[in-house]
Amino acid sequence: MLSYLAQQSINALQLGSIYALIALGYSMVYGVLTMINFAHGDLFMLGAFACMILATLLPVHLPFVIILLLVMVLVGLLGTAIERFAYRPLRGGPRVSAIITALGCGLLIESLTLVKFPYAQSMPPLFNNTIHPFLGLTISTLQILIIGVAITLMIALDFLIRKTAYGIAMRAISFDARIVPLMGVPVNRVISMTFFIGAGLGGAAGMLYGMAYPVIAPLMGVLVGWKAFVAAVIGGIGSIRGAVLGGFILGAVEVMTVVFLPSTYRDLISYSLLLLILIFKPFGILGSPPNQKV
């Protein structure tokens, strides 16, 4: 029983890392623009498809890291483009319009991908996946890779946020957006950078997810996107550490529920837990109430 639980914990870590990566994208954008980017789940899906296209259509067989970086850059650029053409014009207007535009952009991405790939696609394996027996458990190279890459990216992001100029600018904007331009910070550029990194992380998550579950379809981002959003909120939306925490909590809850109950209870338990957390901590575990000036 103990080894069974330990085995499932590895699964939970894997799923949680992926949720955390996506949740980070949501939190970063929210922190900077107080806007929920509903197209983020579809950027996640594009990451998986980009990886598949790169792996199958290119004549050269590229190593894993190169494909990962390429996917992150490509999806990041797309995220920046969406921000520039769909969100920036609406920055002065009602918040809801931006959210609905995000929803529309997400639907557009999904439907365009469906036009090109109506059938589910198979993700080709990028390397030889071996199973390692370890203390009575079985861990595959893929699982180690996913957890490792996710943690590396999170540490890199944390460094970026706290030690670089762009990171400080991002945090400044999330504190008080009106004063920041007066300080000479190129707000538009920082926001574009935020979207680039957020989308890039989402794309990386998509690629890792596609490698873990190698049947990809254009609508795979919808449900995962909403779940990652929930994870970001559990942790406290706007908080980077909160997003990571929320992602791992949600991954753990989802995997562990199926251990003890039939899988139809999974959503019931996860969302009831979320509701409970929000009742006791209305702004998420690590979030703080916004300052509301009357």
Binding site: N11, P89, G92, T138, R178, L223, V255, V258
Partner: protein, 412 residues
Amino acid sequence: MHRHTIAHRHCSVFTPSPKASRVVKKIICLSALASALLSIVTLTGCGKTSPSIKIGLNTELTGEMPAVGASSKNAADLFVSQINAAGGVKVGDQTLPLQLSLGDNGAKADQAAAVTQRLISQEGVVAMIGPNASACAIPASVIAESLKCPMISPWSTNPKTTIDAATGKPKTEVFRACFTDVFEAQVLAKFVLNNLHAKTAAILYDVSSEAPNGQANLFKKTFEENGGKIVGFETYTTGDRDFSAQLTKIKAANPQVLFLPAYYNDVPLITQQARRLGITAQFVGSDAWSTPELIKLGGADVEGAYFCNHYSNQIATPEATKFMADYQAKYGQAPDDVAALTYDAFGLLTEALKTAGKLDRQSIRDALSKISQFNGVTGTMKFQPPSGDPIKSAVMLQIKDGKFVWVANAQP
């Protein structure tokens, strides 16, 4: 919503000039209006065409199983073009061409219901072929029954499609071109016990979808009735990607056979995760495995698996050989069972049209129910009133070297 947004900046980078913005607004409004008008036109339908026999095809062109819809549509097109090239169908003293009315149910139940309504009420089809997926066929059949229009489902094996849920009696208007899950469960159970000599089996199935759910429960019942033992009975929900919890439980029970009645998009993930966890059981599938996409997506993990099917392109009856050659010539690939069954559904309907002698839904329905021998691509079938389920045989196939290979026949 929070107030402290970047809400008071009025200089946006992308502010069009007032005139340009008015023009663009006009364009957007006009295009929205145009789309709405276009929709009204397509909704109400327009124009009168020359007399023909209108047959509706309600199939899964978009959604979770587009490969199924594509096969169905291809077979339908092939049949209609062949019949019309030969002059048409002789109904009474007229020879009329066939006309196909296509509807996409997106593999969703409510869309299937809407399409059924549209085909029967608006397009005025004399009969409807489809849907294929049981989750769509069951609601569609309720509507076809209430609108008194004959319906033949090529591929839906769930018993509920032809049985009225309230009375338990067969529906009058609904038929199918394939056998039912009841028969399939017997075939599979006997195959596992007698051919594979396996006494223990485990089942992993999608509890939220009609076809896999029905098949899992029927297999369990039949297997245990015939002396087998089900050591694992796990469920998942449509859309799940991770089955490690359920598979780990199954691994602990150590079954000889793992029965997976899933559609072709779930099977690759399950088999891959099962093998990775170290499950060595023999995979056995249902007729939902029959799409070639499954081999493409499943690769080495589905190699060696057995499954039950409606026909094999290695059984050389004259009708089957001709159909396979024609299909290959027109579409460049071998037909799967959905295509073969759709072709047979159209064949059955044409037989009924000839016998009925008039384009009246009631007569067509009566003629269908009395068909005593029809030599189709998928074998010989007959209907026994009042049931809409044909009596026909099944085949067992195995996936070998990336192809479907015939193993055995099973008679009713």
